[in-house]
């Protein structure tokens, strides 16, 4: 087990290093770092000062290790737009994105699991057909357009919900969150729904497949023979068995929710890291872009690592295969 975890940590570090190399090549070797790292109106004196402080006169490998050394210490340079360390700007905005992603995840689970169970227990029926076609529609619908339609219906036409910004946040247990005020919750509903719908399709499919694979198993027949109600068999016995794959996939998918928040945050002007990165690409604020990519990739790798380790704890077969 320990060997498995150590090997996975080693691989994770390798992936992060590879990402750093790619980003380094993109920003420092292909482009002119001065062009990228300095605002357009920099004077010659400023250019020389920065070139010297970055050690741009040194050979590329030396430069790479300087970049890596700074990155490890969380130093990605200062943002031109905010004139503050890039990492600070990102970490400050991360909670808003995490809140959005978490809410979306909850919505997709609360709606998706029951729908998947329903479709799974009635295979090839009208209900199953409708839910499955609906889920294809769900993942076919471009996320950004779906968000715009939500705004059009619920903000513009009906005027029920606000469409931009995060709204009032309150402090609960030392965390600033939208859940503390009604205004905050109202601002959260549309963006969270937008982000959740794509995920919902996945949860429905996973649950349905799980139910269909579990229903013919012996322990279900045995439970029926004991005279348990169908509801109890489904919600207790079958549920327990299908939760493991759902939990694993959801763990990984939480990372992709954070990535897809780029789209949602852009549409709903949600002040998280996703909107920040798009704004920064537009404003050529490269230190923020570099910091975002490395921070998000690091987060992703950590999530994947945790899920892998958890999975091997839950299911010894995985451990055996990996060893």
């Amino acid at each position: 087990m320990t060997a498995f975890v150590i090997r996975r940590i080693f691989q994770a570090a390798l992936v992060l290093l590879a990402t750093a190399v790619i980003v380094f090549i993109g920003v420092y070797a292909i482009g002119d770092p001065l062009e990228i790292l300095l605002p357009g109106d920099a004077t010659m004196a400023e250019r020389e000062a920065v070139a010297q402080s970055l050690g741009l006169d040194k050979p590329l490998p030396v430069q790479f290790f300087t970049f890596l050394g700074n990155a490890v210490q969380g130093d990605f340079g200062r943002s031109f737009v905010y004139n503050r360390p890039a990492v600070d700007v990102i970490l400050e905005r991360l909670p808003a994105t995490l809140e959005l992603a978490f809410t979306a995840l909850m919505i997709s689970l609360i709606l998706g699991i029951p729908l998947g169970l329903w479709a799974g227990t009635k295979p090839q029926s009208g209900v199953d057909e409708t839910i499955m076609t609906g889920s294809i529609l769900g993942f076919s619908m471009p996320n950004f357009w779906q968000g715009m339609m939500l705004i059009m219906v619920f903000s513009v036409a009906l005027g029920w919900l606000p469409s931009t910004g995060r709204g009032e946040t309150g402090t609960v247990l030392g965390m600033r969150t939208s859940f503390a005020t009604w205004d905050g919750v109202a601002h959260l509903i549309l963006p969270a729904t937008n982000l959740a719908l794509g995920q919902l399709a996945l949860v429905i499919r996973l649950t349905r497949t799980g139910v269909q694979e579990t229903m013919p198993l012996d322990f279900v027949k045995f439970a029926r023979a004991r005279g348990l109600s169908e509801t109890r068999i489904l919600l207790v016995h079958v549920m327990k068995n299908i939760l493991i794959p759902i939990v694993t996939v959801i763990g990984v998918e939480f990372g992709s929710l954070i990535a897809f928040a780029v789209v949602t945050e852009t549409i709903f002007a949600w002040p998280g890291v996703g909107k920040l990165i798009i704004d920064s690409i537009g404003a050529l604020d490269r230190p923020i872009v570099v910091a975002y990519i490395l921070v998000i990739v690091a987060m992703f790798i950590v999530i994947n690592l945790i899920v892998d380790v958890l999975y091997s704890l839950l299911d010894p077969r995985v451990r055996a295969r990996a060893a």
Binding site: V23, T133, S140, P142, F144, W145, V263
Partner: protein, 295 residues
């Protein structure tokens, strides 16, 4: 089991799709849209990017209105007086071209690497599959974003980014199928005949790996179209000179809050119908071509 000839496979795929009314309808819609895209210059009421043909006076007209010169705008006009229907037909052309190109290139790259992994085995297999796992572990949009940031923007770069995020799906599927096929007698026989590795790979193994490739290829084209639209909407995809459906929707977004709905709703609906129809066909193909389900 007798290996299916590719011709038989194509016939079986089409028969299977047509057998389901839902999938048949979706296939018809796909073909119709492809034809509309190919013949866009003939079908479109105006060339939306010929400045001589558009009139600023006709800007922001709602659907079914008549323009300054009395011409009918079936789906309204955009802020610059461009006929929406024409812009959408041209946008469809761009979206389909980018999506299909990316899908086909990803198929070529992924299939070659997947076959190689299955045939070579050992260290080559392990290395390729490690990359596949790595790619599949990251969300499409994050990888595409990274590539576009590193390499800069443009049509070629968008296609590169899409191929980069999609090849792994093909590689994984081909490898899994090819592993099963490689153990069969006909491959052994081909080896005994002293045929070259490329010939065995592409001439003997590949035809038998086609069913999963057709399914994934269909779905990945839909994904590529949707991903390109998303990137273009975010302003990091195609350049303004090549307006895809995603870019049209992005333009419509600017005026959506003012209640001007047709500039984003119609291109969005067209994009949705296109992606949805391809996915329905793909889903049906998955059922038809899956040997486990058809037995």
């Amino acid at each position: 089991m007798i290996a299916l000839a590719p011709q038989g496979l194509l016939a079986r795929s089409i028969r299977g799709v047509v057998a389901s009314p839902k999938a048949a309808l979706a296939l018809a819609i796909c073909l119709l849209l492809v034809l509309a895209a190919i013949f866009a210059p003939i079908l479109a009421p105006q060339n939306p990017y010929d400045l001589m043909q558009i009139d600023l006076f006709d800007g922001k007209l709602p659907p079914l209105s008549r323009g300054y010169n009395g011409q009918l705008y079936l789906l309204g006009t955009d802020t610059q007086g461009r006929d929406m229907l024409s812009a959408m037909l041209y946008g469809l052309r761009t979206s389909l071209a980018v999506g299909v190109t990316a899908g086909v290139l990803a198929l070529a790259v992924g299939t070659s690497l997947g076959l190689l992994a299955a045939y070579a085995g050992g260290r080559v297999d392990a290395t390729i599959m490690r990359f596949v796992d790595l790619m599949l572990g990251f969300p499409t949009i994050l990888v595409a974003l990274m590539i576009l940031v590193v390499f800069g923007q443009g049509t070629g770069k968008v296609i590169l980014a899409l191929v980069f995020v999609q090849w792994a799906y093909f590689a994984r599927a081909v490898r899994a199928t090819a592993m099963v096929e490689a153990a069969k007698d006909y491959v052994e026989a081909a080896r005994c005949l002293g045929l070259s590795s490329p010939r065995i790979l592409f001439g003997h193994l590949l035809p038998n790996c086609l069913p999963p490739l057709i399914v994934i290829g269909t779905i990945q084209v839909a994904n590529a179209i949707a991903a390109e639209a998303t990137l273009s909407f975010l302003g990091i995809g195609l350049p303004i000179t090549e307006p895809s459906l995603g870019l049209l929707i992005a333009n419509g977004y600017q005026v959506l809050l003012a209640g001007t709905y047709w500039m984003s709703v119609y291109p969005g609906l067209l994009l949705l119908v296109l992606v949805f129809a391809i996915n329905i066909v793909g889903d049906r193909l998955r059922i038809v071509l899956n040997p486990r389900l058809s037995q």
